[in-house]
Symmetry: C2
Subunit: 544 residues, 2 copies
């Protein structure tokens, strides 16, 4: 190709860039409204302004900050930005990928634990300054009769008998002042239930190692969270905090494992709660929240919630079949609550989907026989750096088995044919940017494959995965990281992802239409806020 003039070249260049970006939702949708265009521009200006100011300073413990940097290190800077404050107000649509057990802030969980005398804590040895960093707390709701026999000696007292259960509040109040007293106790619990920068970026800086720490966080508080009365409050807090972040519909994954070591425990601490009763609780909380919102004239802020039934990808195929049956039974009783079925756990070390082929291939037929509405698979797949490993190959099986969406799909970008299929069959990808980075699939947002998916026109919903472990509560942090690391992605693309999160949710068409209409109204309001607020920020910035 040769050009007779610079202007001719520029014309061809503009054409080429458009063609290259033609599959992006934000470019496809053609002309922007004047308000959209202005809001998008303002956000780009604020991003550029803060990239040159807030992100160029030196911070205590952050030697070289940059937008889109490691989340756990950059978090304290992110929350100082006006860009973050703007995104907090954005209507986020739906949260489609979050594991319920990891959705409520640990500080709040501690407050909940303090309300229930049943909750006890123990350690494998008396805690002191040298071992507190390595000894993990165990938490469990005890039945009435065992509580009396529980120890009263502080976990930090050298006379503490290793393994003795101590009432949660007693343990907290009697925590050695040398170790921080009650706050020290809270920090001990928090450190065990979350991932810190040193773990993610130094001591456990590989996918394999960080997964070990990641899984230990669930072992710490799963028992406590699954204490029925606390669990109901937990669900409530998850929904309320999501609404507070601008999320109007949630589709959490809940682990229902038959005969598992971490069952739901009844209020008296004596028995395992049947899973159907957990769904009743979920339904009850849902209706309470909706009623309260309605009473406050806020019903438009929350459309509802549905559950993705999940079990663990290390059980036997026979055992999996039992879970498929239970899932169908629950769908029969709670057709409005069960959204789909999935398997969870580290794809890199646990069983691939092919291991469960026989029962999984039967699932459709089982549903027909039971006469229940369809229960789609909503599989995790390709949450890996592997190229042709079982975890990577799970993508073929997720798609062949008819998955409705793909959880993570991190390695999807390597598969041209699968990308094509995802577009044809409208299979959306649940992308969890911060989760991927903390679990070391990518070192920063700049290495994340999300832009590849967007430029290929694949539908994407941003998700938080395990926010209580990662510290990315709500969806604002994930939206921020995506926006901060690109010069192409702007507010309009974020809006498209929010809309897609509703379009590809498990809501009925009617529910989707309502949710989208409400979202659009809130979006317009948000855009006006963005223009006003953004201009204020920029004016203030240029004044300094």
């Amino acid at each position: 190709m040769s050009f007779s003039s610079i202007s001719e070249y520029q014309a061809h260049r503009d054409e080429l860039i458009l063609a290259d970006r033609a599959q992006r939702a934000d470019h496809k949708k053609g002309q922007l409204s004047e308000l959209e265009a202005r809001a998008d521009k303002v956000v780009r200006d604020v991003r550029a302004f803060e990239a040159a100011t807030i992100w160029t300073r030196e911070y205590q413990g952050v030697p070289h900050p940059f937008p889109g940097m490691e989340f756990l290190t950059g978090r304290s800077i992110i929350v100082q930005t006006e860009l973050f404050k703007i995104l907090e107000k954005m209507p986020k649509g739906a949260l489609l990928h979050a594991h319920l057990d990891a959705t409520v802030n640990v500080s709040h969980v501690i407050k909940l634990a303090m309300k229930y005398p049943a909750i006890h804590v123990r350690a494998s040895t008396a805690l002191n300054a040298s071992n507190i960093g390595s000894v993990l707390p165990e938490l469990l709701p005890l039945p009435e009769e065992l509580r009396s026999s529980a120890g009263q000696v502080s976990l930090t007292d050298s006379k503490y008998t290793p393994g003795t259960w101590v009432p949660f509040n007693r343990a907290r109040e009697s925590f050695d002042p040398q170790l921080g007293g009650p706050e020290g106790f809270d920090q001990w619990i928090t450190a065990a239930a979350t991932i810190n920068p040193t773990e993610a970026y130094v001591t456990h800086n590989t996918v394999t190692k960080i997964w070990q720490k990641f899984q230990s966080t669930f072992r710490v508080n799963a028992h406590m969270i699954r204490y029925r009365p606390l669990h109901k409050e937990y669900i409530r807090e998850f929904i309320l905090s999501s609404i507070a972040d601008g999320i109007s519909y949630v589709e959490p994954r809940i682990n229902f494992v038959l005969g598992e070591i971490r069952p739901f425990i009844s209020a008296d601490g004596l028995s395992h709660v049947p899973h159907r009763e957990i769904l009743q609780d979920f339904d009850e909380v849902l209706n309470d929240v909706k009623a309260e919102l309605k009473a406050q004239g806020r019903e438009d802020e929350f459309i509802g919630a549905r559950i993705i039934y999940t079990t663990l990808r290390f059980i036997t195929p026979e055992n999996l079949e039992l879970h498929l049956q239970e899932c169908i039974a629950l769908k029969k009783e709670f057709p409005h609550l069960i959204a789909g079925f999935d398997l969870v756990g580290d794809e890199n070390v646990l069983k691939p989907l092919t291991y469960y082929l026989e029962p999984l291939l039967k699932f459709k037929e089982m549903q027909k026989e039971a006469g229940v509405p369809e229960i789609p698979f909503i599989f995790h797949g390709g949450e890996t750096l592997g190229d042709g490993t079982e975890a990577d190959m799970n993508l073929y099986d997720a798609i062949l088995l008819g998955t409705k969406r793909i959880g993570h799909g991190f390695s999807l970008v390597k598969h041209p044919k699968l990308i094509e299929i995802c577009k044809e069959r409208e299979i959306a990808i649940e992308v969890c940017p911060i989760s991927n980075e903390i679990l070391r699939l990518t070192s920063s947002m700049h290495m994340h494959p999300l832009p590849i998916l967007l430029n290929q026109g694949v539908h994407v919903a941003l998700c938080s995965d395990d926010p209580s472990v990662f510290g990315n509560m709500g969806l604002t942090f994930d939206y921020f990281q995506v926006l901060a690391a690109s010069e192409i992605t702007g507010l309009i693309q974020l809006g498209e992802m929010a809309k897609d999160s509703i379009k590809f949710s498990s809501l009925e068409q009617e529910g989707k239409d309502r949710a989208l209409a409400i979202w659009q109204k809130r979006w317009e309001k948000f855009l006006e806020y963005v223009v006003a607020e953004g201009q204020r920020v920029l004016a203030k910035g240029s004044a300094n």
Copy 2:
């Protein structure tokens, strides 16, 4: 899609996998010969065996090794593997992306420097244990009359006058035994001219920071390397060491910067060497090497070499035009030596191609007027983590300006239309895996986008970029890293990349045909070696 049986499912699955990989060269080429199939299998077995043995052990200073890990940390393990020893024997085809100033092992450069009394060294202060890690050596060839006035005081003597030139050998021999004596001197030079693991993975662990260290390595020895007599030996060593690694054609990039601060220095140390004389030297060395090989009956091991004329991407457009003119003049005199034109330097901070649009658009016309054979652009582009930054956008301009190949093209995977064009117009990508990793575009080979390019059917040639700085001499290390980090890529794909490196070189068709025919002969021999050697390794392995 629903399946009536497992076998029906498996059949669809196999089909889908084939369709997904259909654009890969190794899958496209259809049936493998029995020898190819066996060699490919053996290599996969050796890779799997060593992944489970050598790569699972703990090593001093390598807490958690894995195949494809950070090169500077994993190098000492890589060289212990049989997989590496096998790849050393592989015929590599052409080396299409290497900057001449960074192609010869520092230890060899030191040996060369010791041969020339003109070479002098100085430091900004007397060296001692506490500052030797931070004070950089400066090296320069001095003219006869200045040598006498050069200092004789050791650089490590507190009486050393900062900035005084000391003869290289004198400085080396008088280096304080407390600092390691002559070996300590060599280590000081080496540390300054290479990147170490701490710099790449700790102190300079971002693209911006590592580029600062990277550029300093060139400042250290560029003057010395460009001393004409030493430079001729340098070229010779580059070619010989390439041949020793199984490379049969090289296309180095050489910086020709008019009025630059780092000119080529004449033997007497007094004047700048005209660039045409450097090409004469190159030609002379080339012919000598060819003659020697012919005399040894080894002429098939080396097809030849051509130069990609490069200048720096911070000069003015007017200045660039002068370089385009010189490049044309050199092409006129050495049509067989000039392969193309490129601009070098950190794309993230220096000028984008658009800055040079006016002169670059004239280049074709200038060549016509001068009546020289075509000089293609062979541009660097997209060597960045940016999404829509100038460095990323360089890809649009490189392609619009008709680049023959793309240097790095790291961000190409984000551009569906550009990938399509690269396939249509057969624009090959010069992928430099180890360079990308050390310069922090990717944290390990598992995060490198190469598999995306291969699966999309883009032509790729693996390259070493700056091996003397990175320690990836030859091409064996880069081939190893690519092979070790994938379960899909095998020996056949490596062979395809080697063939592509010849097909997309600047050789005339006749030269390509000859090179390909010779490569095929060597490849068959290599495959036989692989089968025999691989089986020996596996037998030994299972015996233990």
